[in-house]
């Protein structure tokens, strides 16, 4: 029998985060968004709740939870706001997870306790100005000089890389040529503040305006050879495996946004009147909301299915790609419909749906575009 029920602990966590999002995030996030300001206090509160440590063991300061716990949390946060949700998602699956998965014992002890507590954020730099989808096309280089790596290059759109509490960015760089002539790509930890590592000012973004995204440049930036993360020449492969998990997390976040659109719409159509009736009495509106709910629901099932495979230790690449594809789609469609239901108010920043509309688009782009997801699904089906 297929059982979609959450465990008691997962359900209690979900409720706790729902309450946190409603009581702590919702009242203040609109202002941060409009000022394009990073919400340090909220991040600190999330840290005290242990959200940044959810999937990590207690020995490294984690909560001894699992990836399911993280995904449920992301969904509940994104029902209210995506900026805080992506700060958590990137902090955990791009900042801390690579260190946990591929780091040496020493690297884990050095970085994970602070990352798990939310007192420090980490970023992962793969995308470059010349391209993100073709991650193997990395141009950034790292050359071993004695016992130091010397890094040169530029990374674009790196989340959590320029906050006051950013402690490290892991970057992919070409460290040589493989015997078959292909590039050897490795991952290297660059601590914040390392000379030669420059964080540019924030981008002006369409959405996710209360999250931190920067361009990074490296000019003869030197870090100890021991900062190599994982095996030399495995940086690209390692990163791809992290991205598979990350896609489920982004799917959960997308479902949250899609559900948030339903929540907001339901509230509004019971209040707003036109032509002498509540607009929720018109079938055209009811059907829109029914479609929105159906999209959120099916997208949730897709990410639950991917999660279940992942937690059981089975291959989940295809399911993760499907979940990300359909849920980012659901988020886009729902935010467009919700904005329409709100009429002119939907276009105003003071209502959450306008924010949802602006935040939805990136979900079809970040951590693998929708085209890349389709490529992955096709490949899993044996198409070459």
């Amino acid at each position: 029998m297929i059982d979609f029920r959450l465990s008691d602990e997962h359900e209690t966590l979900r409720k706790t985060v729902e309450e946190f999002a409603r009581e702590e995030v919702a009242p203040v996030i609109g202002d941060f968004y409009e000022r394009e300001e990073f919400p340090y206090d909220l991040v600190a509160k999330m840290g005290r709740m242990g959200l940044f440590g959810l999937p990590f063991p207690e020995t490294y300061g984690g909560m001894d939870g699992d990836f399911t716990a993280l995904c449920l949390t992301l969904e509940e946060l994104a029902r209210v706001d995506s900026s805080v949700a992506i700060t958590l998602e990137a902090g955990v699956s791009l900042g801390a997870m690579p260190v946990f998965r591929f780091g040496t014992e020493e690297q884990k002890r050095r970085w994970l306790p602070a990352l798990c507590s939310g007192e420090m954020l980490g970023g992962f730099g793969l995308t470059e100005p010349g391209g993100g989808s073709d991650a193997g096309g990395t141009l950034t280089t790292a050359r071993l000089d004695g016992d130091e790596w010397v890094i040169n290059g530029t990374k674009s759109f790196i989340t959590n890389s320029g906050t006051d509490i950013t402690g490290l960015v892991t970057v992919t760089a070409v460290t040589g040529t493989k015997p078959d002539g292909r590039k050897e790509i490795s991952a290297i930890i660059v601590p914040a503040g390392t000379p030669g590592f420059t964080v540019s000012k924030k981008y002006s973004k369409v959405g996710w305006n209360a999250s931190d995204t920067r361009e990074l440049s490296f000019a003869d930036c030197r870090v100890p050879a021991a900062n190599l993360l994982g095996e030399r020449g495995r940086g690209y492969a390692q990163f791809l495996s992290i991205l598979d998990e990350g896609r489920i997390a982004i799917a959960a976040l997308s479902v949250g946004l899609a559900q948030g659109c339903v929540d907001e719409s339901l509230r509004y159509v019971g209040e707003r009147e036109a032509f002498g009736h509540k607009i929720g009495e018109y079938q055209a509106i009811q059907f829109k909301i029914a479609d929105m709910e159906a999209r959120a629901h099916t997208a949730r099932l897709a990410y639950y299915a991917a999660l279940a495979k992942m937690e059981r230790g089975e291959p989940f690449k295809k399911e993760a790609a499907i979940a990300k594809l359909v849920s980012s789609n659901a988020a886009m469609d729902n935010s467009r419909d919700a904005t329409q239901i709100f009429g002119g108010y939907g276009f105003m920043n003071e209502f959450p749906v306008g924010r949802f509309y602006r935040d939805a688009k990136i979900l079809e782009i970040g951590e693998g575009t929708s085209e890349v997801q389709r490529m992955l699904i096709a490949r899993e089906l044996g198409l070459r």
Binding site: E9, E19, M49, D64
Partner: protein, 261 residues
């Protein structure tokens, strides 16, 4: 190492609509979502802060129906060590005095209690008297309306805040303290706390276990009864003041009329 008992009540969520049963005017518990009263989250938070500073143990105590276990679990996932749940159908419709009597009997079963912490006033019953009655029954000093609590050896100091201002109280332990809204910001349970709560002991007792007579509790034996209840009338539309240059004066007149200034 203070041994602390926190009195917690499960109440209808203030976000949901609340209703009384048609028949006996007791709370229609099926109607509303039930949650741990926020003031009791603050009481637990205060107990946990005292525990974190001085060690000791925190027990949550609740008189309530079956589903009050959710409120108890929340207290445990915030960090309390164990719980006592007084569960007995005979308690249905018990009033404030009876509830306090049961609470006092349950507190007596805990060895070497140093401090009992309660909320000032429950968000549903709003009697604001349970802590005082419990203190009387136990013969403990009562320090109510606390906005600051410090425990130092065998004494407890409380800054009491009421409309009359601040009063500084001091008593020797054991004592009953009731806390107000400003005491602290309660923590959210962490996932570790949620998982740990599952394994923490919850002792479920009935009134016979506590030596309380069934003839002393319940709706039929209550000292006060709700004879009649009517839903709150819908809010009337506010009064509109048009500003023809004299808006300020009109508003002032209105406030004077309401005896607000």
């Amino acid at each position: 190492m203070p041994n602390i008992v926190v009195l917690v009540k499960q109440v209808p969520d203030t976000y949901s609509e609340r209703k009384l049963s048609e028949g006996d005017h007791t709370l229609d518990r099926d109607f509303a979502d039930a949650v741990l009263d926020e003031i009791n989250e603050r009481a637990i938070e205060e107990a946990l802060q005292i525990k974190e500073a001085h060690d000791g143990e925190v027990t949550v105590l609740c008189v309530g129906p079956d589903r009050a276990t959710d409120a108890i679990r929340k207290g445990l996932s915030m960090g309390a060590d164990k719980a006592i749940h007084v569960l007995d159908d005979a308690l249905h419709g018990s009033d404030l005095l009876q509830t306090a009597k049961v609470l006092a009997a349950a507190i007596r079963t805990v060895e070497d209690v140093d401090l009992v912490i309660a909320g000032n006033e429950a968000s549903d019953g709003a009697g604001g008297a349970v802590p005082a009655v419990v203190a009387e029954l136990l013969g403990y000093p009562q320090l109510t309306h606390a906005r600051e609590v410090t425990v130092d050896g065998t004494t407890v100091k409380v800054t009491r805040e009421t409309e009359d201002g601040l009063t500084h109280l001091e008593a020797s332990l054991p004592a009953v303290v009731s806390v107000g809204e400003k005491i602290n910001e309660p923590r959210y349970p962490s996932f570790k706390g949620i998982m740990a709560a599952k394994k923490k002991p919850v002792e479920t007792v009935d009134i016979a276990d506590l030596g309380v007579d069934a003839g002393d509790v319940g709706l039929a034996n209550a000292w006060s009864t709700v004879v009649e209840a009517a839903p709150k009338p819908p809010r009337e539309a506010g009064q509109r003041v048009e500003d023809d240059g004299d808006g300020g004066v009109k508003i002032a007149e209105y406030l004077v009329g309401q005896k607000l200034i």
